[in-house]
């Protein structure tokens, strides 16, 4: 019987694994192979010169790599922290508001998540427009600046702008995950805490947050992963600019591929990104696994 079930399982799993194999595993391996060759304008690696790790050397020595690395890390830390706090606030709000508003609030919160990143980018480009962008005029109206700031042209401001645009959608995502976790906090425990004399802040700090710790950790994991890989917003909002100040690992690697058309070096870039992201995730997963209660 077990033999038979194993066979069936194999049959059921095969199609999915074939799809993954063709479009995920094979390409990863192939990219790794590209990275070992001197490929420009072409991907025919069998006819190209084998250069071993020379591409990697070039990449790691380049200023742009470290720039994009630094920006990616900075971006990830800032964006994830910000969106987590905002997302937690929104998630808690959905449980706190009076019943009729709950559905409306949830619908509002879910909306930013559904909007494709690159469309958002266009949206934000208009909002950040230095002549008639809404945000510029708001800044002036609030007394934060004399003229609408150059959100996308000024290097420092551009960093902030990209982060803001990303967080707008990210807070929504974090909120959704956290809402799920909060829903699992049993009401009777909160009732007991109320009877025990705990006010709202104490209930949040001592009961709610500790109980959703697994959800928090998983949320942070997913959001960090997403932030490290970010591409759409950057491509659509600033194209990595001004210059390369807002280039992330993914966006700069893409330039290597399709702007500079250097497949070898681009692949090295991509593999480095891949190792970084995967490595960090594995480390993170190992670190948080003891805190997760598996059913």
């Amino acid at each position: 019987m077990r033999q038979r079930e194993s066979t069936i399982a194999l049959v059921f799993l095969a199609p999915a694994f074939v799809a993954l194999g063709v479009f995920l595993f094979y390409p990863i391996v192939q990219t790794a192979i590209y990275s070992l060759f001197d490929l420009e304008y072409s991907t025919r690696w069998r006819e190209a010169t084998f250069v071993g790790l020379a591409n990697y050397g070039d990449v790691l020595a380049s200023r742009e790599f470290w720039g994009s690395m630094r920006f990616t890390v900075l971006f990830t830390v800032a964006a994830v922290s910000l969106e987590f706090v905002l997302g937690l606030g929104m998630a808690l709000a959905t449980f706190w508001v009076v019943r009729p508003l709950r559905g409306i609030l949830r619908a509002i919160i879910v909306l930013p998540w559904a909007i494709p990143g690159v469309i958002q980018a266009s949206m934000w480009r208009w909002l950040f427009n230095s002549d008639v962008g809404l945000l510029g005029h708001l800044a002036v109206a609030l007394g934060l600046a004399d003229q609408p700031p150059l959100f996308l042209a000024d290097p420092t401001l551009a960093v902030g702008s990209v982060i803001l645009a990303y967080v707008w959608k990210g807070a929504s995502m974090s909120a959704i995950f956290l809402m799920g976790g909060l829903a699992m906090v049993p009401q009777h425990l909160l009732d007991a805490a109320k009877m025990d004399g705990a006010r709202a802040w104490m209930r949040l700090r001592r009961i709610t947050l500790p109980l959703i710790l697994p959800t928090i950790l998983v949320t942070l994991l997913f959001r960090t992963l997403d932030a490290l890989r970010v591409f759409d917003i950057v491509y659509g909002l600033t194209g990595g600019g001004p210059g390369t100040t807002t280039d992330t690992l993914s966006s700069f690697a893409y330039k290597f591929y399709f702007t500079f058309v250097q497949f070898g070096r681009g692949s090295a870039y991509a593999i480095i990104t891949f190792l970084l992201v995967t490595g960090l995730s594995l480390l993170y997963i190992r670190r948080i696994t003891p805190h997760l209660r598996f059913r």
Binding site: P186, H188, L189, D191, A192, A193, K194, M195, D196, G197, A198, R199, M202, R206, I207, P210, L211
Partner: protein
Amino acid sequence: MAQVAVQQISKRFGSVTAVDELTWTFDDGGLTVLVGPSGCGKTTLLRMIAGLEEPSGGQVWFGDLDVTAVPPWERNAAMVFQSYALYPHMTVFANMAFPLQARKLKKDAIRRQVERTAQALGIDHLLRRKPRELSGGQMQRVALGRAMVRQPDVYLMDEPLSNLDAQLRVEMRGEIKRLQRALGVTTIYVTHDQAEAMTMADTLVVLRDGRIEQAGDPELIYRQPATAFVAGFIGSPMINFIDVRLDETGAAWMLGDLRGALPARLPAAAAGTAGQPLVLGIRPEDVVVSREAIPDSLPARAVVREPLGKEALLLLAADALPAGSLLRAITPPDLRPAPDETVWLHFPPARIHLFDPTTNRALQSTIGSPR
């Protein structure tokens, strides 16, 4: 010490009225049990007293203070939940320390008080454990301990024993009763188990559809139920209800050929007009079963006999009764009628209850019924 009272208190959920303008003052220092079938509003009432539900109307009083708008964390009431509601991520010690931390007591004071309470309940050896490592009975005690540790004015208990197995439940009943006596704190206890209610209550409040059906001393309620509902709900095995009529004289009831005297405590005029239908109630333990014919008795056959050790439960069918309806009678263990044997059932007048079939109220003077 606070005397808890509710005044015209109501709770509506949409079109459903869970509690309907209920007024009651609870025994100061005594154990009052709220009992009734599911949906009668007992838990809702308890939660309103706790502050976990906001009343749709009416007030809650702790002593002279109107606490209706006061949030639960400011009322000095402690609650024991059916699920125990122990914080799973904290140790037993931390669970019990939590209410004291909410009151911002100092660490040493907290430790002393927790240890003292834990010792009193016999759980001091469990202080380092987490709730998932405890048995049902142990969790129960921790829940009690958490309620006791800060010496509240009122204890509220929401079916705390429902999740325990039968034997443990009986044991804990006695323990809670003893504890309550020793502490002398007003306690309001909710249960759907009428046996539990009877054994534990100083005062019993029977609820139905959001209203008080009858309230007062448990034994009095048992002996003199004010309505057919109370008579049927309180007492196990359940009371027998028989449709009878008043005879021509108006001074006796009749069932088939059987004539029975009215109870002495019932004024003759109160019974009603001749031929009027009534509902007669008689508890199984009050039915006299005889193997020989006796005066004023009904012939019947034992259909089922359930031996209960110290006594037996007989299910009896009689020609005078509608087909399929059976009477319950408790008999001494040595009475074993044969399946076809005719036995004779006598209903002592002092033990019968008569109810008006339309209002379901008892005809004898109503005791303890507030409406």
